[in-house]
Symmetry: C2
Subunit: 108 residues, 2 copies
DNA sequence: CTCGTATGTAAGTTATGGCTTACGGTAAGT
DNA sequence: ACTTACCGTAAGCCATAACTTACATACGAG
């Protein structure tokens, strides 16, 4: 399961900030690093992780390297989520029902 | 944004295994720790993190403590995902279009 | 061809996280 | 009341990850 990488990648706040920034559109590294609380090399390293997780893609544009969001990584997370969403809700519903059942004739 | 906690919680493989195990139904800690590659205290610590992330709830049942899935945490992740899903796809689509545009009359 | 821009990578430091063992507390059974 | 089962937490260890500075590389302008 490679969704491991996607989850781990989005776990870091700084990395999620980078990713969210790219949601507004493709950006080169330097521009992306501006306004970030960490250095440019740090952003570059984060982008590498995001890329390996299938969350972003990059292309060369002259001397610059433009990064943009890749739906693939998000798709993996969505797939995992969809798989557990229903049974999580069902398990929760069943539990609520059990509780109300138990406290039905509890204190007469 | 407390979704930070949910993402970080699900980033760890062991913790996701614990969570996925609970998707089949509520379990006490001891039973939950059986078959896990880590010790019972480790599972207990993971449960604490999952609880703080709103991914599980716990209730006392005699001397045992039963954990079950809490949809709240998953809901936060789903909300975050839904928010980026559309614009991620749109950004990707726009990029594909740009590429095909560029290579239209490239090599006549 | 040289220089400035833009980026990735290596090396090293520090913080964080996950694990184990040991211990303390609570509940149930005898 | 004493004992046993079940669990959370503290302490400490070790691996990993995030960050910095310094360096190497590629591209484009002049």
């Amino acid at each position: 399961m490679a969704n491991n990488l996607a989850f781990a990648a989005l776990a870091d706040p700084t990395r999620r900030a980078v990713f969210e920034r790219l949601a507004d559109g493709p950006l080169p590294v330097g521009e992306l690093a501006e306004g970030m609380p960490v250095s440019r090399p740090a952003v570059s390293q984060h982008l590498k992780v995001l890329k390996e997780a299938g969350l972003v893609t990059d292309r060369a544009q002259g001397a610059r390297r433009v990064y943009q969001i890749d739906p693939k990584g998000l798709g993996q997370i969505r797939a995992w989520l969809d798989r557990f969403w229903d049974e999580a809700l069902e398990a929760f519903r069943a539990e609520v029902e059990r509780e109300t059942q138990d406290s039905e004739g509890e204190e007469p």
